[in-house]
Symmetry: C2
Subunit: 220 residues, 2 copies
């Protein structure tokens, strides 16, 4: 995945992957409170991460797919600060963080890569804050769909259709909405001819309309 390495460096990089681990749908990759030892590179499958308040409220903090790195929440306190749950059968590369640190002292390109991945996560969360703080239900769902599509497209999949790996409730938790509101927004988009929905399957009929909902200023 990382670019900017020569053949020799790529060999060194293999050192970082200790082993692989399979996680079945519904199972935890790690739990909040678990000792942090490793980052995980998702090879296949789909995850959600979420935090839970002491009184039991759950907030989905992200959805992660193949090629993405998970577990950076654990670095600060040597314990994980969120839960990671597989939403479909998954396989991850276990990368002991001590090894990542050792190797990135020798390989500036790896060091840079690690920094960028963490910075990207910070920037992503900034835009989720914008979403949660300033946008209405339909804007949030449009933003969510566009983001998923863009990431799937970057992996060679279609720009115009996708199969959701999460429930309406999980989407709602991520977007700060109740599942009924998510369902209604899907129905609205469908009525307006913007998308076609059949359960988890979603086909985008009018991507421009979706972008306008996400970013109303485009109307000007």
């Amino acid at each position: 995945m990382p670019v900017g390495f020569n053949v020799d460096e790529m060999k060194r990089l293999d050192e970082v992957v200790e082993k692989r681990r399979r996680v079945k749908q519904g199972e935890l990759l790690f739990n909040s409170g678990d000792t942090f030892t490793s980052l995980y590179a998702i090879r296949t499958g789909f995850f959600k991460t979420c935090v839970t308040s002491e009184d039991g409220r759950e907030q989905v903090t992200g959805f992660q797919m193949a090629g993405e790195i998970i577990g950076m929440d654990g670095i600060v306190s040597d314990r994980h600060n969120c839960n990671a749950v597989a939403l479909e059968d998954a396989e991850v590369c276990v990368m002991p963080f001590a090894t990542v640190e050792d190797l990135s002292r020798e390989l500036p390109a790896l060091q840079r890569h690690v920094h960028k991945i963490m910075s990207r996560e910070i920037v992503r969360e900034n835009s989720v804050m914008m979403l949660l703080g300033n946008m209405r239900a339909e804007e949030r769902l449009a933003a969510f769909l566009l983001n998923l599509l863009q990431r799937l497209h970057a992996r060679g999949l279609s720009q115009s259709e996708l199969v959701l790996r999460m429930t309406r409730e999980e989407i709602g938790s991520y977007l700060g909405l109740k599942l009924e509101t998510v369902s209604r927004a899907f129905s609205k988009f469908s009525e307006d001819g913007i998308i076609e929905v059949k359960q988890r399957y979603v086909k985008i009929l009018a991507p421009e309309a979706l972008k306008k909902i996400f970013n109303p200023q485009t109307l000007l």
Copy 2:
């Protein structure tokens, strides 16, 4: 600030600080879109960071005080992805990120420190997502006050009083609320004898009550 360095290492660390920079109240330390070159360690003063959507909506993503590091949003794309505005006259240490990376390859304790700072920011943003997605207005304000107090206390200031550096509108933007709602929540806390408010000055009369509002499960 960082711990775990010996005298020699501390000398090396001085290399990382290129110079200092003063930022007057209301001025920008950096702007979204600016080329990213450096992280900034706040020596004195108080900042807010915010992102702006294309149609002009602003979301405050954080408030930063002395001893905190700002600018990590720029690493991923070599451009800053948010604005940093001084809410009072401030002075920062400019730390060119290339130097930080060079030096952290030689000093594992610095490397570790950089990783922890970024991870801490990820974890902080996770809890803001919980706040924005799941909590009501008064819970959000209680959480906000408790967080500020805790950080001020860690800097040797009082646990029971503080002077806000930001307006009701900026608090509202951070908490996903309108300024009137923030004002009403302050008034409610004041009526209930939990705090005393006089403009930007806030005194905590009943810290336990505040904690209960933030975390209702404690009532059990």
